[in-house]
C-alpha cells in the first residue's frame, strides 16, 4: 500500500518529548546536589511534585479537556521538577500538592493546556505557595551532606535574606563577613530553595541545553547580563549595605530562573529580538525587586510579570523578511 502525503517526507529527530527529556537531563545535576545536601527530604519533595503534576495533567486531559492525555510528552514532569526546585526541602506534602494543583490546573489547563498557558506553571505554583504559606516557604534548612535522613536540621537565612535585612549603615566589609564564601555559593553549600543553590550544577544544565540546541543563549545571556550591569552600577553608587555583583549573581534563584524558567518556550517570545527584550525586562525587574522591593528575591515575580508581556512583545517584534530592510 502506497501512502500519499504532502512534502516534506522526512522529519527531524526532535519532538516535544525529546526536548522535554533534554530539559530533564539538564535539570538532573541540580537535583543530585539537592539530594546530596538536603537528603531524604529533597528526594521526597521532588518525587511528590513530579507525581502530583503528572497526576493532575493526566486527570485534566482525561476528564476536563477531554483530549488524549499529554503526559507522555514529559512536560508535566518538567513542571514538577521545576516546582520542587523552587521549594525549600522541608515543605509538608499536602502543600506541595497544592502547588502542583495550581501549576497544572490553574496556570496550565485552565488556559488550554500545553503551549497555551500565559504564565510559567511552576512559577505560578511557587508564587501561590509563597503567598499562602510564607513561613514554610521561607524556612531554609542548612545543607548537611552527612545527614541523609535529616535527623538534625538547622535553619538559617539565605544570602539574599541577610542582604535584605542588613542595617542601612553596614559597610561592605562587615556585610561580606556575614555572607557565605564564593566557593560555597558556587558549589551549593548554602541555604535556599532546593534547585537553586548550586550554580555549578545549573551551569552544567545550561551547557547541555545549549549543546542540544534546546534553547538559544539569548535569554540567559541578556537576563543575567542586564542584572549584573545594573547591580554593578548600584554597587558603585550605593556603597553601603550592599554586596558586590558576583554575590548577587550566585545567590537566590537567578540562575535557575534565567536558565530554566525564563527560557520556557510557551511563556517567552518567539523572535530573537523579542527574546532579548523579554530577557532585559526580566533582568531589570529582578534587580528592582531585590534592591527596592519588600521581598528578598525577585526572580519569580520578574519572570511572571514579563510572561504577561509576551503576547505584546510577539506582536511588536518580528524577524526580518528576506529581501527587505537589510542593515
Amino acid at each position: 500500500m502506497l501512502k500519499v502525503s504532502t512534502a516534506p517526507h522526512i522529519y527531524s529527530q526532535t519532538n516535544t518529548r525529546t526536548i522535554m527529556r533534554d530539559v530533564i537531563i539538564a535539570l538532573a545535576p541540580a537535583g543530585l546536589v539537592a539530594i546530596i545536601l538536603f537528603g531524604l527530604n529533597a528526594l521526597v519533595t521532588i518525587a511528590t511534585a513530579v507525581t502530583g503534576c503528572v497526576f493532575f495533567e493526566y486527570a485534566t486531559c482525561r476528564y476536563w479537556l477531554k483530549t488524549r492525555p499529554s503526559t507522555s510528552d514529559l512536560s508535566a514532569v518538567v513542571t514538577g521538577i521545576l516546582l520542587a526546585y523552587n521549594l525549600p526541602c522541608n515543605m509538608p506534602i499536602w502543600m506541595i500538592l497544592i502547588g502542583c494543583f495550581v501549576a497544572i490546573i490553574i496556570a496550565k489547563a485552565a488556559f488550554g493546556g500545553i503551549g497555551k498557558n500565559v504564565f510559567n506553571p511552576a512559577l505560578a505554583g511557587r508564587v501561590f505557595l509563597f503567598i499562602s504559606f510564607p513561613v514554610q516557604m521561607t524556612t531554609w534548612i542548612n545543607p548537611n551532606w552527612k545527614d541523609f535522613l535529616n535527623v538534625d536540621v538547622t535553619t538559617s537565612a539565605t544570602t539574599l535574606g541577610i542582604l535584605k535585612h542588613a542595617e542601612p549603615e553596614t559597610s561592605f566589609f562587615e556585610l561580606a563577613d556575614k555572607l557565605p564564601s564564593y566557593t560555597d555559593m558556587f558549589v551549593g553549600n548554602i541555604g535556599g530553595s532546593m534547585g537553586e543553590i548550586s550554580a555549578l550544577a545549573l551551569l552544567l544544565g545550561l551547557f547541555w541545553m545549549l549543546y542540544r540546541k534546546v534553547i538559544s543563549w539569548h535569554i540567559p545571556f541578556y537576563y543575567i547580563g542586564t542584572f549584573a550591569l545594573l547591580n554593578t552600577i548600584f554597587w558603585f553608587v550605593a556603597g553601603k549595605a550592599t554586596c558586590e555583583p558576583l554575590t548577587q549573581l550566585l545567590s537566590g534563584g537567578l540562575f535557575l530562573g534565567a536558565f530554566f524558567m525564563a527560557t520556557d518556550y510557551t511563556t517567552s517570545p518567539m523572535s530573537k529580538n523579542g527574546k532579548i527584550v523579554f530577557a532585559i525586562g526580566c533582568g531589570v525587574l529582578t534587580f528592582v525587586i531585590r534592591q527596592y522591593g519588600s521581598y528578598p528575591e525577585g526572580v519569580s515575580f520578574a519572570i511572571l510579570i514579563m510572561n504577561a508581556f509576551v503576547p505584546l512583545i510577539d506582536k511588536a517584534f518580528h524577524p526580518r523578511i528576506f529581501g527587505t530592510g537589510r542593515k
Binding site: 502506497l2 500519499v4 502525503s5 517526507h9 516535544t16 503551549g115 518556550y265 523572535s271 523578511i321 528576506f322
Partner: protein, 439 residues
C-alpha cells in the same frame, strides 16, 4: 579555493543519504511504450501536432508551445503514436499525454550523436534564444519554468551574472552531482552560451561542499575558461533555492515579489545548462535527463539517463525493490510529490524517484504547538510559520498575507523541524492558494 559561502537566515541540516553519488550515470534503455505529457513545465500545455498512428523519430516535435509561458515537447523515442488522451500523472491528477510504442531507436538526422565536445559557440545571441525555445528547454531543477523567458532580459533590466545552480541540497538526489562529475566541460560551455546570449562575461557555478568530486572536476575545466568560476557553498538546506543561492553567491537579496533579474542575476540549474549545451552545440532537443533512483526501498540505487516519458515502474524494475514499499516520491524528500501512480512517466523536471520502505514512512502525529520558535528560526525567508498557521486555522487569509505568507518558498524547513509535527508548510500553501484565488 575561495571562501565557502552560504545564506544568512534559517536553514536546516537533514541527513544527506547521498548513497548514489559514486554510481556512474548509466543508460536506462528503452521501455516498450513511453507516455509523454504535453505539459511538463509551468504554464500552458503545448498544442499537440501529431495524430494517432503517426510515425515519429527521436527528437521529432510532438507538441508546439502555446503562448509565451509554455514549452515545446519532443519525442524521446522512435515509433508509432498509439493514443493521445488524458492520463494520470504521478500525483493522481490527469494531464493530456501522448503514448508512443517504441520501435527501434531512430534519431532525427540533424542531431549530433558523437561524443565530441564542441567548444566554439557559433550561434548568435538571437539564435541561441531561438534554439533554446525550439528545443523545449525548461528549468530542470524541479520548477520547470520555461528557460527562454529567463534568457530574454525584459526592457529596462540588466543582468551582470549568470549563476549555475549545482547545489543539490535535497537528500538522496545525486543527478546533478553525477552530471557535474561526468560532464563538467559541457556544463561550463553551457554557462558560456548563456553568457553569450545575455551579453555578459561573468558566470559562477555554485556547488555545495559535500560534492568534492564535482567541485574538482569543474575547477579543472574552469581554468581554461576565463570568467567562469566555481563557488563552493556550505552544505545546508535550502541552499539550492534560487533566492538563497543568489544571496549566498552575490550578497544580493531578491525583494519580496521580485525575480532574480531584479538583482541583475540569471540563475539556471546545471542540468539546464547541460541541456542548453546539447541543444545549441549538438542540435539535440530536451528529451532525456538524468534521474536518481534511490531510497531505502531500492536494492541498487542508480543514476539513469532516462528518456522523457519512461514509466517510473520501468526504472523501479531495473533497480529492484528492497522490502515492502510504503511511499514513492517524485523529486526529493523535502519538496517532492508522493506518487500514487507507479506507472507515471518521468518528465523534464523529474530529478529523482525515491522508494521508501513502509517501516520508514513517517506518518506524523500532530501535537499542540509548544511555541518553541524553531519554525521561525529555520525559515530561510524570515517568516513566522506558527503565526501563519494560527491565522489559516481561523480562516484569516488576509492576515496571513500581511505577515508575508506569499514570500514562502515552500522549502519545508518549518514542517521538517517542528517538534509538534504541525504541517506548517501545508497551512502556508493553503494560505497562498486562497489568497491567489481571491485575486
Amino acid at each position: 579555493m575561495n571562501k565557502i559561502k552560504t545564506f544568512k537566515i534559517g536553514g536546516i541540516h537533514p541527513n544527506k543519504y547521498k548513497i548514489s553519488s559514486d554510481i556512474k550515470i548509466s543508460d536506462a534503455g528503452l521501455p516498450e511504450t513511453v507516455i509523454i505529457p504535453v505539459r511538463q513545465h509551468i504554464g500552458a500545455p503545448a498544442k499537440v501536432l501529431v495524430q494517432k498512428g503517426d510515425k515519429v523519430k527521436v527528437g521529432t516535435l510532438l507538441a508546439d508551445l502555446d503562448g509565451v509561458v509554455s514549452a515545446d515537447v519532443h519525442s524521446s523515442v522512435s515509433g508509432e503514436v498509439l493514443k493521445i488522451e488524458d492520463q494520470e500523472v504521478s500525483n493522481g491528477y490527469f494531464e493530456k499525454m501522448i503514448t508512443i510504442r517504441v520501435e527501434g531507436d531512430e534519431w532525427e538526422e540533424n542531431i549530433d550523436r558523437t561524443p565530441d565536445i564542441i567548444r566554439d559557440i557559433e550561434a548568435t545571441p538571437e539564435e541561441i534564444v531561438q534554439i533554446i525555445r525550439a528545443s523545449g528547454i525548461v528549468g530542470m531543477g524541479g520548477a520547470g519554468f520555461p528557460t527562454p523567458i529567463k534568457v530574454e532580459i525584459p526592457e529596462g533590466k540588466k543582468a551582470d551574472c549568470v549563476i549555475l545552480n549545482g547545489i543539490e541540497c535535497e537528500p538522496y538526489l545525486t543527478a546533478d552531482d553525477r552530471l557535474m562529475q561526468e560532464y563538467a566541460e559541457q556544463i561550463v560551455i553551457g554557462a558560456r552560451i548563456l553568457n553569450k546570449a545575455l551579453g555578459i562575461q561573468k558566470a559562477v557555478i555554485a556547488v555545495d561542499e559535500n560534492k568534492p568530486a564535482a567541485i574538482e572536476a569543474l575547477q579543472k575545466v574552469t581554468r581554461e575558461y576565463i570568467g567562469v568560476n566555481v563557488q563552493v557553498c556550505a552544505t545546508k538546506y535550502p541552499q539550492g533555492a534560487e533566492k538563497q543561492l543568489i544571496e549566498a553567491v552575490t550578497g544580493r537579496e531578491v525583494p519580496p515579489g521580485c525575480l532574480p533579474i531584479d538583482v541583475n542575476c540569471v540563475v539556471q540549474n546545471v542540468g539546464t545548462a547541460f541541456a542548453i549545451y546539447e541543444a545549441v552545440q549538438k542540435h539535440k532537443p530536451l528529451f532525456e535527463r538524468i534521474v536518481t533512483v534511490s531510497g531505502d526501498g531500492v536494492k541498487h540505487p542508480q543514476n539513469f539517463r532516462v528518456r522523457v516519458g519512461t514509466p517510473a515502474s520501468y526504472l523501479i524494475d531495473k533497480v529492484g525493490k528492497n522490502g515492502d514499499i510504503g511511499k514513492i516520491i517524485f523529486g526529493g524528500p523535502m519538496m517532492g510529490l508522493s506518487g500514487i501512480n507507479i506507472d507515471a512517466p518521468v518528465t523534464k523536471t523529474t530529478s529523482g524517484i525515491l522508494l521508501l520502505r513502509t517501516e520508514n514512512v513517517v506518518v506524523p502525529e500532530v501535537s499542540p504547538c509548544i511555541r518553541c520558535g524553531t519554525c521561525v528560526e529555520v525559515c530561510p525567508q524570515g517568516l513566522e510559520p506558527f503565526a501563519i498557521t494560527n491565522f489559516v486555522r481561523n480562516g484569516e487569509y488576509q492576515e496571513a498575507k500581511k505577515i508575508h505568507v506569499l514570500d514562502c518558498i515552500e522549502c519545508g524547513c518549518c514542517a521538517y523541524s517542528c517538534p509538534a509535527r504541525i504541517p506548517l508548510l501545508d497551512y502556508c500553501k493553503l494560505a497562498k492558494y486562497e489568497i491567489r484565488k481571491k485575486k
